[in-house]
């Protein structure tokens, strides 16, 4: 790059920086590491975001019966809240049963959702081990894992849900 071009480039960079500074207040503070911990609630299908800990369905049944059954019913059959297991119909039946076992495409979504939102009366009250255990129980009653299978950050993302291929991304289709 010639000296003249270098200078031009330098001035154009300065000019655009000046424009941004003028039109944008830039009042945010750089987030501290502690504050970034707030992002730890997102759990992705590849397992990113899952914490340490583990649990199995036997342990999870006790958690479920204490914290979930009142609304979601015995073995997830549904109650005042939606059914989670025990589907009698497939997705092409009328009416279809949209349970975790027949409909949910990713097992990681269970952990993400239960940790952030459940139980309704005391969200955030379950320990990570309890969350893994109740996740295991919900997978077990949907016949996706065995009673003794240990669910953790390592094993949960490896589970392929029955309806994994059941979704059409219509947004990308519109692109």
């Amino acid at each position: 790059m010639s000296m003249r071009k270098t200078l031009l480039f330098f001035f154009s960079v300065c000019w655009s920086v000046a424009v941004i500074a003028e039109s944008s207040p830039d009042l945010g503070e750089i987030a501290t590491v502690d504050f970034l911990e707030q992002g730890r609630y997102d759990v992705f299908p590849d397992g990113e975001g899952l914490p340490q800990g583990s649990g199995n369905a036997t342990q999870g049944e006790a958690v479920y019966n204490q914290h979930c059954q009142t609304c979601h019913g015995l073995k997830g059959e549904g109650g005042s809240a939606e059914e989670l297991a025990g589907a009698m119909h497939g997705l092409t039946d009328n009416p279809p049963d949209k349970t975790i076992g027949t409909y949910w495409p990713y097992a990681t979504t269970l952990f993400d959702f239960i940790r952030r939102s459940m139980p309704l009366s005391a969200p955030g009250s379950l320990t990570d081990d309890q969350l893994y255990a109740v996740t295991a129980y919900l997978l077990y009653i949907n016949h996706i894992i065995k009673n003794e299978d240990e669910i953790s950050a390592k094993t949960l993302p490896r589970i392929t849900m029955p309806n994994h291929e059941g979704f059409i991304n219509v947004f990308d289709g519109q692109e």
Binding site: S23, I30, A31, A81, L91
Partner: protein, 418 residues
């Protein structure tokens, strides 16, 4: 006025929309109840005694106390539920703030704006934390825009037509003037990394509701909204700050916004997998079906209202589309055999409620009223059987078919599939 000016332009007595501009028309009122006798006193009580004193914040007239949201919470957990805007009782295009529809997953949080923070992080050069008082110093912009729940009108999928007021069927849709800061401005300050394609938005309510949105939409026209119809957003609508995502499913307009995380992929949250996806007859489900389709309905006359006698009426209703502006609304009074173009009330704005009106001569006979809207992208609102033909009946979300109201000989109005 000559009789030929009242010549119908479609069957069933629909008249030229420009008739409204004529003077001397005698319209007949549509009533909820039989009209009360006119007061006979020359000087009424209100004209004879001093009225009420000033007030710090006004309320509607006591005589309007039936114009309310209809709330429906889970009996075991009332904090999880919805409330509908009474569209059948409102006029114009703006929804009063106290009547905007609600959908909460675990109640309305009471948030102190001084302690609330918004975090922007993930695939950015600088993760930034904003205080509300600082965000309020940013240059703002306003737009009129509807928000519609993806599950609005879902009773339309039912085998039998549900008999309820129009708003308590289709009123998970409301329209406001929203004011706030373009999301792009803050993302530019944070510096977007090239791999970023999606954004995860999260609320500060007890459900910490989260959902993924395409980054390009946020850069295109989304706002961090602080004001609704001129005042700070109500708690039930996301105080102190919500995301405004024009024309897309209501669930994406995350309330009580605390976090925007730029990522290279969606998080696959419950609300983009188990919910807000539309099951098709072949067992596959449509996902990321963000845009709310073109839609309209007649709000007057509609279910529960009463035509008292034959005569000239004004049919009115609302049309909207997540794809852009409404360009035309047609009305039928013979169940869809013939159609007449309705007048669109200005201003007609993109992704905003549009009010339509048309004069109608009711002869006191059975009639079926329908409206159908067309948007600027050429999308036309489908008949119910066309929507079911295309999507089946188990999709639950995104019901936007033509709504039919049957007028009986006695002037009563019911909901029909026609």
């Amino acid at each position: 006025m000559h009789d030929d000016e009242f010549k119908p332009i479609a069957e069933g007595g629909l008249l030229d929309r420009r008739l409204f501009l004529k003077k001397g028309l005698t319209f007949t009122s549509i009533a909820w109840l039989a009209p009360s006798a006119m007061a006979e006193a020359v000087r009424s009580d209100a004209m004879s005694t001093p009225g009420r004193a000033l007030s710090n914040y006004g309320n509607p007239s006591n005589h309007e106390n039936k114009v309310i949201r209809w709330t429906m919470g889970n009996a075991a957990a009332p904090v999880n539920g919805v409330s509908w805007t009474p569209l059948h009782a409102l006029e114009g295009m703006i929804t009063p703030n106290g009547l905007h529809f609600e959908r909460h997953h675990n109640g309305v949080p009471d948030i102190d704006p001084d302690s609330h923070r918004l975090l922007i992080h993930g695939l950015v050069n600088r993760a930034l934390v904003f205080k509300i008082e600082d965000l309020l110093r940013y240059p703002m912009t306003s737009r009129y825009c509807f928000i519609e729940c993806g599950g609005n009108s879902n009773a339309g999928w039912h085998a039998e037509p549900m008999q309820t007021e129009a708003g308590y069927f289709h009123g998970m849709a409301s329209c406001s003037e929203w004011t706030g800061v373009p999301v792009k401005m803050l993302f530019d300050e944070a510096g977007i990394k090239g791999r970023a394609k999606w954004v995860i938005a999260e609320g500060a309510d007890a459900s910490m509701m989260s959902i993924s949105l395409p980054l390009e939409k946020l850069l295109d026209d989304c706002l961090l909204a602080f004001y609704q119809n001129g005042e700070r957003i109500r708690p039930e609508n996301g105080y102190p700050v919500r995301l405004l995502v024009p024309g897309w499913e209501g669930v994406l307009n995350v309330k009580w916004l605390r976090r925007l995380r730029l990522t290279n992929r969606p998080v696959m949250a419950r609300n983009e997998t188990a919910k807000y996806t539309e099951l098709l007859p072949n067992g596959k489900a449509e996902q990321f079906s963000f845009v709310m389709g073109v839609k309209s309905l007649i709000t007057r006359p509609s279910y529960g209202q009463q035509l008292n006698k034959p005569g000239l009426y004004q049919i009115t209703g609302l049309a909207w589309s997540g794809h852009g502006k409404i360009v035309k609304v047609e009305v039928s009074a013979d169940g869809g055999k013939s159609w007449a173009e309705a007048q669109l009330q200005e201003p007609v704005l993109s992704r905003c409620f549009t009010r339509f009106r048309i004069p109608w001569q009711w002869e006191g006979k059975k009639a079926v009223l329908k409206s159908r809207a067309i948007d600027e992208q050429g999308n036309q609102q489908p008949e119910r059987h066309e929507l079911i033909q295309a999507k089946g009946q188990q999709g639950y979300f995104h019901y936007h078919a033509i709504v039919s109201w049957a007028i009986a000989d006695d002037g009563s109005v019911s909901h029909v599939y026609a």
